[in-house]
Symmetry: C2
Amino acid sequence: MSVLNTCIGSVAAVCTTLAFVPQVIQSWRTRDLSGISLPMYLIFTTGVVLWFIYGILIQDWPVIIANAITAILASTVLLLKLKSIFII
Amino acid sequence: MSVLNTCIGSVAAVCTTLAFVPQVIQSWRTRDLSGISLPMYLIFTTGVVLWFIYGILIQDWPVIIANAITAILASTVLLLKLKSIFII
């Protein structure tokens, strides 16, 4: 694999993982979850947890680490959404 | 690669790709984008487009197709968010 490919793949992985940081911060601070789709975060978090399990099965550390971080971030938004539905 | 691995990886890919469908439908219908983080969708869409380019570079069809679909869905939410900021 060329250096260019590895570089683009790495930047892509960092972007799709860390993109959820500003969403977590905004949702945590404002508690405005009305525009957030519950089915999206249910399906997305399930998918990321499955990617994490897949990473363990194929013993690929980048897949394990990236999806562990994304799972924590996405499940935080999911819990805030569930809290906004069932507690208010 | 075992059948179990391929199966878990495929379900994971379908989940993380199609998760954005209910978000696009909700955002399109309600036009309630207040809880959606602009930086998240800017960074996420950039990441998915880079994954798409990466897929072309390594000539991996599942990576190309999954990220092409996610790019269309995520950029739709991004455009609705930008519209809600600059037009209203």
